[in-house]
């Protein structure tokens, strides 16, 4: 589903590569944690998958497509197959919960009856039934992240990318979010999640890929966050 082959990414403004000769293969339906210290290249990895950045060297395949051969106008089609969740939720503050989720479908031209049918379903799935008409600032952080997950998942993407989705949440709320991501993973969606949260990684016991200064230093199925630190 995602394949990196000898991928190096050097940002124009920095000398040190953010990702250095990284090769990784992630199968369909996997749940993968990306761990590593701050600045180790996790977010860079995820941005490369979305083709928000281009690799300096190496090749990347996502959903069977070689990203270096993907023309500019086909990038939207790629991103429709990838749901994305961030630490800071990125909701539109002047739209309701329902409108925020519907927005993701409207802007890719989905007909109104589809939007009307699918949005309540996904809000139900993430546990926000009954809160459709709230504004984002009337929700807790955990609830806001659920809206963001609903928005990422409403188009039933093949891949869900999450960059520190629990970074702004307390441990109890984080557990709820992880349950939700696990549930989404069990529908067959490949989940790649960058995180600093050792408790979550240790308790989930999923595949762990560790990055250190852009190098892949560990790739472990049913792994833990890290060794004693």
């Amino acid at each position: 589903m995602i394949r990196f082959q000898g991928v190096t990414k050097v940002y124009p403004t920095s000398a040190r590569p953010a990702l250095d000769d990284a090769s990784v293969e992630i199968e369909k339906g996997e749940f993968v944690f990306l761990v590593g210290q701050s600045g180790s290249g996790k977010s860079t990895f995820l941005r490369l998958v979305l083709k928000e950045e281009k690799p300096t060297r190496g090749q990347i395949w996502v959903a069977g497509k070689d990203l270096s051969r993907l023309s500019h106008w086909k990038v939207p089609a790629l991103r429709r197959q990838i749901g994305t969740v961030f630490q800071d939720f990125r909701l539109l503050p002047n739209k309701t919960v329902h409108e925020n989720v519907a927005f993701a479908l409207e802007v890719i031209g989905k007909p109104r009856h589809t939007v009307a049918k699918v949005v309540p379903e996904v809000l139900d799935l993430v546990g926000l039934a009954g809160k459709e008409d709230r504004m984002p600032d009337e929700l807790s952080g955990g609830e806001q992240q659920r809206v963001a997950i609903a928005r990422a998942f409403v188009n039933r993407p093949m891949i869900l990318i999450a960059d520190e989705p629990t970074g702004n949440l307390d441990p109890t709320t984080s557990v709820g979010i992880m349950r939700l991501l696990d549930r989404i993973n069990r529908t067959g969606t490949t989940v790649v999640m960058a995180t600093h949260d050792s408790h979550i990684v240790d308790s989930m016991r999923r595949r762990v890929i560790e990055l250190d200064q852009g190098h892949v230093t560990r790739d472990q199925s049913r792994g833990v966050y890290g060794y004693a630190r």
């Binding site: 106008w73 991103r79 429709r80 990125r90 539109l92 927005f103 409207e106 890719i108």
Partner: protein, 293 residues
């Protein structure tokens, strides 16, 4: 394409940037009006030229004691010039008759002019009145020629005046057009910035350029359209105030003609198209820089 979505996003954008949008509308209006005025002045000058040049001849006045062979030589020379369309001979008698008609109201002047005071002449009609100099120098020094007179010379000053207005309007149009382009550029940039959350999410969920940029481009095109509308109003005002009430009441309709509403109306679709296309193109070009996928 969901038109409702794009239109409602466009309306939100317009409301948020109202003052900038107004500035865009006004500058587009002024620059298009300037272009329109320049064009109308050109047409007005052409109308005048058509009217005057149709009546203009070069007059080759002959000496009092010109001989018949000299007459023939001059007439042959004129006939052979490629610039010459037609040559008429006007005898002293004909000149006097014409003079009497022309100044019929001034009896004293006619009474004081003797029958043979007026010189005989060749009246030459040119294909292109501007080629006057070539014709003049060809016959000026021939024996029997007294002088060559060009009615054109006096008119040149008038034409220069209108050319001046035309050029000034063009300069204003171009300068304001540059201002308009910079303003559109800035407005779209601000609009893109104020909606960066929305566009960021749109890019992330895989919206196409059409959806992301469409509302902004439509916003620009709409501002261009309203600006063009105002420009058309300004042009109509120009026609009424300066041409109909200014020129026409000052000079009347005998010595020249004026451009009509057909000429003014002819500019309308072009100016409108220009306003809309320029605004939309600049918007799209700006977005290429600020809303890259």
């Amino acid at each position: 394409m969901r038109a409702r979505f794009v239109l409602s996003e466009m309306a939100i954008g317009l409301r948020r940037n109202l003052s900038m949008t107004v500035a865009v509308v006004l500058t587009v209006a002024i620059s298009l009006a300037g272009l329109g005025v320049a064009w109308l002045m050109r047409e007005q000058v052409n109308t005048m030229k058509d009217f005057w040049y149709g009546k203009i001849e070069v007059s080759v006045f002959l000496d009092k004691n010109v001989t018949q062979p000299q007459r023939l030589a001059i007439s042959d020379e004129l006939d052979n010039l490629p610039q010459v369309e037609h040559v008429f001979y006007e005898s002293k008698e004909q000149a006097y008759i014409r003079f009497k008609q022309q100044f019929a109201s001034e009896k004293a002047l006619v009474a004081n002019t003797s029958k043979d005071a007026l010189p005989e002449s060749y009246r030459v009609k040119l294909y292109d009145p501007k080629k006057y100099q070539i014709v003049a120098s060809a016959v000026e020094l021939m024996p029997g020629v007294d002088q060559v007179a060009d009615v054109n010379g006096a008119l040149k000053k008038v034409f220069r005046f209108f050319d001046g207005i035309q050029r000034a309007a063009l300069v204003v149009a171009i300068v304001v057009l540059i201002v308009a382009i910079l303003l559109i550029f800035n407005t779209v940039r601000l609009a893109a910035f104020s909606r960066r959350r929305e566009t960021g999410i749109m890019r992330l969920v895989g919206a196409s350029d059409l959806y992301i940029q469409g509302p902004f481009v439509l916003e620009g095109a709409l501002a261009g359209l309203v600006g063009s509308g105002l420009a058309l109003g300004l042009l109509a005002l120009f026609k009424i105030v300066l041409i109909d009430h200014g020129l026409q009441s000052a000079f009347g309709s005998n010595i020249t003609r004026y451009i009509g509403w057909d000429t003014v109306l002819y500019t309308f679709p072009w100016l409108t198209l220009l306003g809309v296309v320029i605004a939309a193109l600049i918007s799209a070009a700006t977005l290429q820089r600020y809303l890259r996928v």
